[in-house]
């Protein structure tokens, strides 16, 4: 199989008449690799909202343990968020840093382990089968480990993008701690070994694991990638790496304090952590809003409406998290916190960025094979799909949040329904864009 194009049978891009850039664009990995992650993420998004809708009556009552809510949560965190991050990292990190990925086999292998592993884990969380949960967890973690090795190598070799690389390391360390905690929680379902001696209690470890996943692994990764992707999309100078480093340091201090506070039951530590989180996020937003102001591109479209909204939700998640540390049970603040963090900030940001990355990748592949690319704005029936997605996503966030706050399950049901419709629209978009690329490669095949 060639390493230059999508994984189509007998594909030999070197032979294409228009393949001026084939050799030099070795940093453009086969389309099939990022695509499988993006399509899987788009499908898991439907699953996540679907499960939330199905389990609408359990959302406000969720206090840990397996079942439909845990399954919905992980369909989203592992199925959508980490899945998107993996596909995007494999393609964009090497393009941005100039470091060529050493082994595409590792990327493929990670997808073969991670995608079915996540499916298995989510299914087992839903039905409450601990051995299958462990099997799915181990497969998914193996996929994440290969991802860690691959992007860790790029970070190690990269001579540029210091801010992103530093964020990347912190994200990878958080990922390692997160999966150790995740696997321990599964084992604890059957053995009850947690809480004995110096080991943390199950519920405290679960919350720490959630913080490590939301802010540590995904949050820090998203922030690090923002420093490359946002300037690239808006055509602005790179944000000040020193300030980005300060933001990272403050965020990290906040995260450590928050986890320390959860594990020791120290409310003051959690509140200080939220303040630090606000300062760290404030610096991050200051840098990126400046990039938007100074960028050469003015019309940024729906994608950046989503990105801006996600930034508001980032701040909201930290404020709600701080309040939840003081009065967790009032207005279901702890639940609202988890929802705004995962479905709000992270999902809104990633779908906003992904709707930009997908057409972008398509044009890069078109250029590679010397084919005229369709206009980015015309790919994937955006006029319908992305608008529908944005509207439904917004409605879903508002309705589910209100449903949690007011303990009105019917609002969660309604919001979840909107989420499903939005997610279907997003999948329609993702498939539409990939069809464009496949058609381009198909035409090349025929013209040989």
């Amino acid at each position: 199989m060639s390493d230059q194009g999508p994984e189509l049978p007998n594909f030999q891009p070197e032979a294409f008449p228009g393949a001026i850039l084939a050799g030099a664009q070795s940093r453009l990995i086969p389309y099939g690799i990022p695509l499988r992650f993006f399509v899987a993420a788009s499908m898991f998004q439907i699953v996540a909202w679907g499960l939330l809708t199905y389990g609408h009556a359990d959302v406000s009552a969720f206090f840990g343990g397996y079942g439909v809510v845990l399954a919905a949560l992980h369909a989203l965190t592992l199925g959508v968020l980490a899945m998107t991050a993996m596909g995007a990292s494999y393609q964009l990190l090497s393009v941005a840093t100039g470091v060529v990925l050493k082994s595409l086999l590792l990327c493929r292998l990670s997808s073969w382990l991670y995608i079915p592993g996540t499916g298995l884990l989510v299914s087992a969380m839903f039905i409450g089968n601990t051995p299958v949960m462990l099997l799915g967890g181990v497969l998914a973690v193996a996929g994440l480990a290969l991802f860690g090795v691959t992007v860790g190598t790029v970070f190690w070799q990269s001579k540029s993008l210091q801010a992103t690389v530093r964020h990347g390391w912190v994200a990878l360390i958080s990922m390692t701690l997160l999966v150790v905690a995740g696997l321990s929680l599964i084992v604890d379902f059957n053995t009850g070994f947690l809480g004995v001696g110096l080991l943390p209690e199950h519920a405290k470890l679960a919350l720490s694991h959630g913080l490590l996943g939301g802010y540590g692994f995904m949050g820090i990764l998203v922030m690090g990638f923002s420093y490359v992707l946002v300037p690239m999309f808006v055509l602005s100078p790179t944000p000040n790496p020193k300030l980005a480093g300060v933001s990272l340091g403050v965020n990290l201090a906040g995260l450590i304090l928050a986890i320390g506070g959860v594990l020791s039951g120290n409310t003051a530590a959690m509140i200080v952590a939220a303040v630090l989180g606000l300062i760290g996020a404030g610096i991050y937003l200051h840098l990126l809003l400046k990039a938007l102001r100074t960028g050469m591109k003015r019309r940024l479209g729906l994608s950046f409406v989503m990105v801006r909204a996600s930034w508001g939700l980032l701040i909201a998640s930290i404020v709600i998290g701080g309040l939840a540390a003081i009065v967790p049970l009032d207005f279901n603040l702890l639940h609202l916190f988890g929802f705004i963090l995962i479905f709000g900030w992270l999902l809104t940001f990633l779908t906003g960025i992904l709707q930009r990355i997908l057409p972008f990748l398509a044009t890069m592949h078109a250029h590679k094979i010397g084919r005229p690319a369709p206009r980015m704005s015309e790919m994937g029936h955006q006029n319908i799909t992305l608008k529908l997605h944005a509207l439904c996503h917004g409605a879903a966030l508002v309705l589910v949040s209100l449903g949690i706050l007011l303990e009105l399950d019917v609002l969660v049901l309604l919001g979840g329904g909107f989420g499903v419709v939005g997610a279907v629209a997003f999948l329609w978009f993702a498939l539409g864009v990939s069809e464009t690329v496949m058609t381009l490669y198909g035409k090349e095949e025929q013209s040989k």
């Binding site: 001026i20 050799g23 453009l28 300037p231 690239m232 890069m364 250029h367």
Partner: protein, 90 residues
């Protein structure tokens, strides 16, 4: 690492040496030159093939072509010829 932009003219062609700039600065410099009213061919010297640039050029009616594909990896320099498309006038 150098951070100076070198610009010189060789007959009708303007050269921009943007090596040493962190991405996406090289791209911004090229697009600023074009948006500033250039109608002449430009040869850009970069550290690597500017994959993201081509779409932006396309949108502005320009074309870009990597000239030293074979040597690219060995020399650590990518030389890209940028021209206004024949059917586009300024």
């Amino acid at each position: 690492m150098r951070h100076m932009v070198k610009r010189w003219r060789d007959n009708d062609v303007v050269h921009l040496d943007l090596r040493g700039l962190a991405p996406p600065e090289p791209m911004i410099k090229v697009l600023s030159e074009i948006d500033g009213g250039a109608d002449y061919p430009i040869i850009v010297h970069l550290e690597r093939d500017p994959i993201f640039l081509y779409q932006e050029l396309e949108e502005r009616g320009w074309s870009g072509r990597l000239m030293n594909e074979e040597q690219n990896n060995a020399s650590g320099e990518a030389v890209v010829m940028i021209e206004l498309k024949p059917d586009v006038t300024r």
